[in-house]
């Protein structure tokens, strides 16, 4: 696992409809240590996806630098795994083939890729649907596949853009617990973007507050792991932190 360093990152879009420039991100700097779980919260339109897409290499920054393990990031690559809000599973591939995609791109033999993909599917209890197509699965199951597809490629850092925003409330809580469990077991480095304060505080070690393209505040989350909902909904520290973060979001 390597360190991610973002230095004075700015992104200016040009809006052709109104003919004006939009500063989606202004001078954002942050550092994520190996094995750390960082959440970025903020209202919609504050630049969360822009930040994540820049780090993923899908967009070019207007100015500033992104360093992974000291090397500048150029374009998308397998060192940064991405989980999308819309799942982005390949509809023409089975679940197994989707998860095996990353390892196959690295040139591993097919049998090995499939064995590996199977192990990762077992991690989220989806081995039994390995040969189904994504559309045959519920939204929650599809996003589990999305998460393990990124994990199976063993990236240095996992980038997640509101991954659970499109599923129903029940499923969302289950997925959050599952992600917490996976994190606690394997300690990947994760940058998680969400507009849901509860979700951010539940998952992360540290919550960054983004508003109108600028980082406003940093809130550490000193809550013990393992984190599970039944315990945390009763937990006064958790409730206080959520309340504090929420008022910070409102004030920003």
């Amino acid at each position: 696992m390597k360190e991610l360093l973002v230095e004075r990152l700015s992104k200016i879009y040009f809006d052709p409809d109104r003919g004006e420039r939009i500063a989606a991100l202004e001078e954002v700097s942050l550092r994520i240590a190996p094995g750390e779980f960082v959440a970025v919260v903020g209202p919609s339109g504050c630049g969360k996806s822009t930040l994540l897409n820049l780090i993923a290499g899908f967009l070019e920054p207007t100015s500033g630098r992104i360093l992974l393990d000291g090397r500048p990031v150029r374009g998308p690559g397998p060192d940064r795994g991405v989980v999308f809000q819309s799942y982005a599973l390949f509809p023409w591939k089975t679940v197994l083939e989707n998860v095996a995609f990353g390892p196959r791109m690295r040139g591993l033999p097919k049998a090995e890729c499939h064995a590996k993909a199977m192990r990762y599917l077992e991690l989220v209890g989806l081995a039994h649907v390995a040969h189904r197509y994504p559309r045959e699965l519920s939204g929650g199951m599809q996003q589990r596949v999305g998460v393990v597809r990124a994990l199976a490629n063993e990236p240095e850092i996992l980038l997640m853009d509101e991954p659970f925003a499109a599923v129903d409330a029940q499923t969302r809580m289950t997925l959050q617990e599952e992600l917490a469990r996976i994190y606690e077991e394997r300690r990947p480095t994760i940058l998680f973007v969400t507009h849901d304060v509860n979700e951010a505080v539940f998952l992360a070690d540290r919550v960054l507050l983004l508003s109108k393209g600028r980082l406003r505040e940093e809130i550490p989350v000193p809550i013990a792991r393992p984190r599970r909902w039944p315990r945390l909904v009763e937990d006064d520290d958790f409730k206080a932190l959520v309340a504090r973060t929420l008022s910070a979001v409102r004030a920003a």
Binding site: A56, P91, F101
Partner: protein
């Protein structure tokens, strides 16, 4: 095993029923035809009797002329389509990959696919002379532009997240083409092939009427010169049946299956 035999039999019965149901209107039509022509004593110069058409078919089968014409038509379609696909799919994909390139070629391909097919017959016969070359060119032209346009559209409408996902999983140029762009565009490609062949088949019949001395179109048009209405009707039935077989047994199922299996759910 005996337990499962019953549903199979029921299934077969249902299938037979469906076939009978589809055939029945045709049987009625044939009866009506025979009855009307005999009852009204229609001159064979205006419309043939059913038996005359059957005789013409027998004659054509015996002297092999039916196979000659049908074979010539199918060979032209196959060759023209094959060349068109070999060029159109890679070109369409290349044009669709980048937004800038796609925006450049879309209006051009649109213009030429709107024009594709029959309108090129005069210039094709001028360039290649009457015969094989001109007809294959017209077929090629009908299929090429429509398929290239649809391929471009297919690639351009693949959700950007899928391309991003593949790129961040480490896919480079060729794996991107093979694993994402081609399968993602396939439903559009197949739809394009079906539309293009529809234009091509009509263009073929028209071209054969004026530009050659074999093929179904020629057979139809030659028969007109001699007022052989039974050969004309036979030709029409052949044209219809061949296209029906091509479209319903090959293209439509192919289209349905690719859309079902490979299709990305996207707004129409």
């Amino acid at each position: 095993m005996t337990a499962s035999a019953e549903p199979v039999r029921a299934h077969r019965r249902a299938r037979t029923g469906a076939i009978v149901q589809a055939a029945l209107p045709f049987v009625l039509l044939l009866l009506l035809w025979q009855g009307l022509v005999a009852g009204l004593q229609v001159s064979p110069l205006v419309f043939p009797s059913l038996s005359a058409v059957v005789r013409a078919a027998g004659q054509g089968l015996r002297d092999g002329s039916l196979f000659l014409h049908l074979g010539a038509s199918l060979a032209r379609v196959a060759i023209g389509t094959a060349i068109a696909l070999l060029l159109a799919v890679p070109l369409g994909m290349a044009m669709g990959v980048s937004r800038a390139v796609a925006a450049f070629f879309t209006p051009l391909l649109r213009f030429f696919s709107v024009l594709a097919g029959i309108a090129w017959i005069p210039i094709a016969t001028l360039w290649f002379g009457y015969g094989f070359g001109a007809i294959v060119f017209v077929i090629f032209n009908a299929v090429f532009f429509v398929v290239a346009y649809n391929t471009l559209l297919g690639v351009a409408t693949i959700p950007v997240e899928l391309r991003r996902a593949a790129a961040s999983l480490g896919a480079r140029r060729w794996s991107m083409v093979r694993e994402v762009l081609l399968p993602g565009a396939l439903p559009n490609i197949v739809t394009g092939i079906r539309t293009g062949l529809g234009f091509a088949w009509r263009a073929l019949i028209a071209a054969e009427m004026i530009a050659t001395s074999t093929g179904l179109g020629y057979m139809l048009f030659l028969a007109r010169d001699f007022y052989r209405t039974e050969v004309i009707v036979l030709g029409m039935v052949l044209v219809g049946c061949t296209w029906l077989a091509l479209d319903r047994l090959l293209l439509a199922p192919l289209e349905r299956r690719t859309i079902e299996r490979w299709g990305v759910v996207r707004g129409a």
